[in-house]
């Protein structure tokens, strides 16, 4: 009886661990880009593979339903709102692409242009030889509007000497050098 219970427990553990592994990511596949927050209108997807793998990459915009229409999420509210309590609708941004890497190191790259501000999700599925998904990685990213360059770079040089002082210094240097 004990043996039977032990066997059942073992089988249950094995099954559970298999199910768990379906849900985890593959350590040889890493989403390098995008980061959690980007600004601008271009979304760069970069996936690093450190072993020969076949991956399927999908990019979605996460939208919410207002009335009957799906609307983009205001990126400025993403940090404030709790999306776990909301129902999000994933709208595909690209046709999912399959990429086969045969080396010990390779990268999948794709640039998506004209992206509007909002919340996006990159999903990378690892496929086996029968095209069955063996692992999945996802990355959510908030796309903010393009930074305004009104904030000048002058603050970068604030610690530098004042222009007039530097000019005098250069002048003195050049006089004594000649």
């Amino acid at each position: 009886m004990k043996k039977t219970v032990m066997m059942l427990v073992l089988v249950a553990v094995l099954l559970c661990s298999t199910m768990f592994s379906f849900a985890t990511s593959d350590p040889a596949v890493t989403i390098v880009s995008p980061s959690q927050t980007i600004s601008g209108t271009n979304l760069l997807v970069s996936v690093k593979m450190t072993a020969p793998k076949t991956i399927k990459v999908s990019v979605y915009e996460e939208k919410e339903k207002v009335g009957d229409t799906l609307v983009s999420i205001d990126p400025t509210t993403v940090s404030d709102e709790n999306f776990s309590s909301k129902t999000l609708f994933s709208v595909s941004v690209i046709t999912p692409e399959t990429f086969q890497g045969s080396g010990s190191l390779q990268f999948y790259n794709k640039q998506i242009n004209d992206v509007s501000p909002g919340l996006y999700r990159v999903k990378v599925e690892v496929l086996d030889s029968n095209n069955v998904v063996t692992a999945t990685s996802t990355q959510r990213t908030v796309v903010m509007p393009k930074d305004s360059e009104a904030a000048s770079g002058s603050e970068i040089f604030e610690s530098q000497q004042t222009g007039a002082f530097q000019w005098v210094q250069n002048l003195i240097k050049s006089i004594f050098k000649n």
């Binding site: 890493t30 390098v32 880009s33 980007i38 600004s39 601008g40 271009n42 760069l44 970069s46 690093k48 450190t50 080396g103 010990s104 190191l105 390779q106 990268f107 790259n109 640039q111 393009k146 930074d147 360059e149 000048s152 770079g153 002058s154 970068i156 040089f157 530098q160 000497q161 222009g163 007039a164 530097q166 000019w167 250069n170 002048l171 240097k173 050049s174 050098k177």
Partner: protein
């Protein structure tokens, strides 16, 4: 009865002139080389001197990086919008009295300011800033002599009134602050933004490391295909080669020893080896002059002018047949021999818009010390222009991913760099990849001529060119297979 006698006298004069000219021509034939191709009217009446490219034509940035902000870049081809000339125009129009400061800035400050929309003119060699300004008749920059040599000029919309300069020799960044913003650079940035551009990203962005700033294209389509070529000197027993050799020795050519080696190499030697000209069976020319230079030390541009004139007088800047190519300084460095200083110039050739690279060689290399050319390498090829256009006007193909070309070949790059003295013995896997990608200063496309020796097809191969400080490593543009490499310090 007087008239016929007069006619006879005139006829005699004409016959004498004809006989004299005939004698001269026969003497030319029999005393000179008795080969059919040795007779050239141009030799008798004097050939027009070979065209000399100007220092401006050969001095072009290796690349022009444009940052649109948010990590989106493109790299300009010079011919696109004459971007280098626009930079020179801006420098020409600057008011020296408008300089508010010339200050050294940190590498971190430079990187931060270039996060804004910016444009960088990069050279793979250094030029002295003050001599550059004088030679180009640009406005003086107070304190330019403090900067010394430079290899980069940059503008950033984050500090529109500034001009940024980098000196690789000193590894220092400088900012020159003017009292007015450089509006023309803003215009140039806007013009480039409105164009259809190839997207470039930093290697660091693609691989997940912030510190690697070298740009690579994300996707590149190109119509480059293999192109047949022939060597400039295929048969060394021609009057053309003899005339070429004669240009190095002038009047003393009759006292030059000529040695023909079993492998087909011809060696011309003057005196006890003071001047030696070697032409290999494959047509590669090397000239060395060990005589003590009598001239005085030259600055960078005077030495460049000496090199340009020397090549024009010794083989010329174009080959006799084939399509015209545009020479550019690919690399230069200061050299010193017996306390005499000079420069070594490596000239690359542009085939219409694509640069040509030679495995383990250079199209032209000239070393000038105190005004005297001490070393000259010439490895020129000829290409049929019609065939070249036919081969490159076809349907575009997707090039192999630049980042995956590096990822696939980093062990090979490491092995090449190890030969040049780098030590990667403690690194493997991703750590080695990171170390290698940090050493790459540019990734570009071009044509590569393999070093087959006497065997192999004479075709140029479309290639990725991975450039580190002193080595160029080539990979097939479409399958990323390694093709070879060239050291910039070798000759």
């Amino acid at each position: 009865m007087g008239k016929p006698k007069q006619y006879i006298e005139s006829a005699k004069n004409i016959i004498l002139v004809v006989l004299f000219v005939t004698t001269m021509l026969l003497l030319y034939f029999f005393w000179g080389s008795p080969m059919a191709d040795s007779f050239r009217i141009s030799d008798i009446i004097g050939e027009e001197p070979s065209e000399i490219p100007s220092y401006r034509e050969v001095t072009q940035p290796a690349r022009i990086d444009v940052h649109f902000g948010e990590g989106n870049y493109t790299v300009l081809e010079e011919q696109d919008i004459d971007a280098w000339e626009k930079c020179l125009q801006l420098l020409r129009g600057l008011d020296p009295e408008g300089v508010r400061a010339l200050e050294e800035i940190t590498a971190e400050q430079f990187d931060r300011i270039m996060e804004f929309r910016s444009i960088l003119y990069r050279f793979h060699y250094e030029m002295p800033l003050d001599t550059f300004l004088k030679k180009y008749e640009l406005q003086e920059i107070p304190g330019a002599n403090e900067v010394g040599d430079f290899s980069l000029i940059g503008f950033s919309s984050g500090s529109p009134e500034s001009l940024f300069i980098y000196s690789r020799g000193k590894d220092k960044y400088y900012r020159i602050v003017y009292d007015q913003p450089h509006a023309s650079m803003e215009e140039l940035l806007s013009t480039v933004e409105d164009m259809v551009n190839v997207s470039y990203f930093r290697i660091g962005t693609l691989v997940g490391r912030d510190d690697n700033r070298t740009l690579v294209p994300l996707d590149l389509s190109t119509s480059l295909e293999e192109v047949a070529y022939s060597q400039e000197f295929e048969n060394l027993n021609t009057a053309e080669v003899k005339a070429f050799a004669q240009t190095f020795f002038g009047e003393s050519f009759d006292f030059v020893r000529k040695i023909e080696e079993s492998k087909g190499t011809h060696i011309y030697m003057y005196g006890y080896g003071e001047k030696v000209l070697t032409i290999t069976a494959e047509g590669r020319v090397e000239y060395k002059n060990k005589e003590t230079p009598q001239g005085s030390q030259q600055n960078y541009f005077d030495a460049l002018d000496s090199a340009l004139q020397f090549v024009a007088a010794h083989g010329g800047w174009q080959t006799g047949d084939g399509m015209e190519m545009s020479p550019v300084v690919q690399y230069s460095r200061a050299v010193e021999s017996e306390k005499r200083k000079g420069y070594r110039f490596v000239f690359g050739m542009q085939l219409l818009e694509e640069p040509l690279y030679l495995e383990r060689s250079h199209s032209i290399m000239v070393e000038v010390i105190h005004g005297q050319v001490t070393q000259y390498l010439r490895d020129m090829i000829e290409i049929e222009e019609e065939e070249f256009r036919e081969q490159t006007d076809g349907v575009e193909r997707q090039a192999f991913s630049a980042i995956n070309m590096i990822a696939q070949n980093y062990p090979y790059i490491a092995s090449v760099l190890s030969e040049k003295g780098y030590d990667f013995s403690s690194l493997t896997g991703e750590a080695l990849f990171d170390a290698i990608s940090d050493l790459i200063i540019s990734v570009s496309t071009g044509y590569m001529k393999p070093d087959h020796g006497e065997e192999g097809d004479n075709v140029l191969i479309p290639a990725w060119i991975v450039k580190t400080d002193n080595v160029m490593i080539y990979f097939d543009l479409y399958d990323a297979e390694p093709l070879g490499h060239t050291g910039l310090l070798e000759s």
